[in-house]
C-alpha cells in the first residue's frame, strides 16, 4: 500500500468513526445524574434485608423457625429465642450486613415472608460496626407501607 493510499484510507476511517461519534452526540443521553435523579430499582431488587412490621399485630412475622439461619451460605444471620410455647419470642435477630452476599436464599425459605428485601442500597458507613444490623435496625429498615417484592410471592413449590 502506498503512502498516499494509506493516508486516504486513514482519513476515510477517521471520518466514519468521528461521524458516528458526532451522530451519537444528538441521541438521547444515557447518563443518570445520580444524587439528583435516581433510577427506580426493580421489584425484585436485592437491596437491604429487613423484617417488616405486620400492621395487624404490630410485630414482625417471624415464627422463629431458624430456616433462614440454616440456609444462609455466609452464616451471617444470628437468631436466638427465649421462652416456651406461645410465649416464645426473639431475643436476638442480627444480620451481619457486611458479610451478607445478598443472595436471597433466606427470603426464599422463610415460610411467613418475615424477612424480605427492600429496594434500598444507600448504606455505606464510616464504621464497620454499624453494619451489624440488630432486630431494631432491621425493622426500622423496612418501609412503612407494605412492599411488593414480587419474587416473594412465588416461593418454592
Amino acid at each position: 500500500m502506498s503512502a498516499a493510499e494509506r493516508v486516504i484510507r486513514g482519513a476515510a476511517a477517521l471520518g466514519t468513526g468521528l461521524g458516528l461519534t458526532f451522530r451519537t452526540m444528538f441521541r438521547r443521553k444515557v447518563t443518570v445524574r445520580y444524587p439528583v435523579e435516581k433510577l427506580p430499582t426493580s421489584h425484585r431488587f436485592h437491596g437491604l434485608l429487613s423484617l417488616p412490621i405486620d400492621p395487624e399485630t404490630g410485630k414482625d412475622r417471624c415464627i422463629i423457625c431458624f430456616q433462614c439461619e440454616r440456609i444462609c451460605p455466609d452464616r451471617c444471620i444470628h437468631i436466638e429465642a427465649e421462652g416456651k410455647g406461645k410465649e416464645r419470642q426473639l431475643s436476638r435477630f442480627d444480620i451481619e450486613m457486611d458479610k451478607c452476599c445478598y443472595c436471597g436464599m433466606c427470603v426464599e425459605v422463610c415460610p411467613t415472608e418475615a424477612i424480605v428485601f427492600v429496594p434500598h442500597y444507600e448504606t455505606s458507613t464510616y464504621n464497620r460496626a454499624r453494619l451489624l444490623y440488630s432486630h431494631e435496625d432491621l425493622t426500622r429498615a423496612a418501609p412503612k407501607e407494605p412492599i411488593a417484592t414480587g419474587i416473594v410471592a412465588r416461593r418454592r413449590p
Binding site: 455466609d74 451481619e96 458479610k99 444507600e122 455505606s124 453494619l131
Partner: protein, 202 residues
C-alpha cells in the same frame, strides 16, 4: 512483609509513618495564625475552600481486584459517569488520593495493596467496596486464602456494603467521603503533623 503475610491490625498502625506533609514551610504560618485571636476564623475559611477543592477532585487509583471492580467500571462508564463528581481514575498511585478496594483481597495480594497505599501521597483515603473487602463476606468461613477484611492492611474510611454494591451505592460512598473531607481540619492537622515529625493525617 517478606513472608507474604499481611501485618496484623495493630502492627500496621504502629509502624513508623513516612514523613510526608504537603504544606511544608507554610506549617509555621498556620501555627502562628492559629494562635492569634481571629486567626482561627481565617484558617477555617481557607480550610473550607481548600477542602472544597480536595473533595471535588478525588482521583482514585484504577485498581480492581474482583467482581466489585466490574461495578466500579460501570460507575465510571456511560450511565453513572463518575467524572461528573470530579472522580477521574488515575493509573498510578502517585497521582491518586483515593483507593477503592473493589473486591476480595487474597493473602497473596495483601502486601501489594499495602504497598500501593503507601505509595499514595498524603492525605489519602480508602473506600472498601463490597462485602469481601469489608470483612471477607461470602469468603469468610472455610476459607484459607482470602483476607478477612482489607482493613487489616490499610485503614478504611468508608465501607460500602453490597455484593456487589450497585454503582449508585459506590457513588453514595464517595459522596459520604466527600462530606467527611469537607469537614476535615486539613491545614492544622498537616501543620501539627509537620511539627511533631509525623504525618498523622488520620
Amino acid at each position: 512483609m517478606a513472608t507474604g503475610l499481611p501485618p496484623a491490625a495493630g502492627e500496621a498502625r504502629s509502624e513508623p509513618q513516612p514523613r510526608r506533609t504537603q504544606i511544608g514551610p507554610l506549617a509555621e504560618v498556620v501555627e502562628v495564625l492559629d494562635s492569634l485571636p481571629g486567626g482561627g476564623l481565617i484558617l477555617t475559611t481557607v480550610e473550607s475552600a481548600l477542602n472544597w477543592g480536595r473533595a471535588s477532585s478525588l482521583w482514585p487509583l484504577t485498581f480492581g481486584l474482583a467482581c466489585c471492580a466490574i461495578e466500579m467500571m460501570a460507575a465510571f462508564a456511560s450511565r453513572f459517569d463518575l467524572d461528573r463528581l470530579g472522580v477521574i481514575p488515575r493509573a498510578t498511585p502517585r497521582q491518586a488520593d483515593l483507593m477503592i478496594v473493589a473486591g476480595r483481597c487474597s493473602i497473596k495480594m495483601a502486601p501489594i495493596v499495602r504497598r500501593l497505599w503507601e505509595q499514595m501521597p498524603e492525605p489519602r483515603y480508602v473506600i472498601s467496596m463490597g462485602s469481601c473487602a469489608t470483612c471477607g463476606g461470602p469468603f469468610f468461613y472455610d476459607n484459607y486464602s482470602i483476607l478477612k477484611g482489607v482493613d487489616q492492611v490499610v485503614p478504611v474510611d468508608v465501607y460500602v456494603p453490597g455484593c456487589p454494591p450497585r454503582p449508585e451505592a459506590l457513588i453514595e460512598g464517595i459522596l459520604k467521603l466527600q462530606e467527611r473531607i469537607k469537614k476535615e481540619p486539613f491545614l492544622r492537622r498537616q501543620a501539627y503533623a509537620a511539627r511533631d515529625g509525623q504525618a498523622g493525617a488520620r
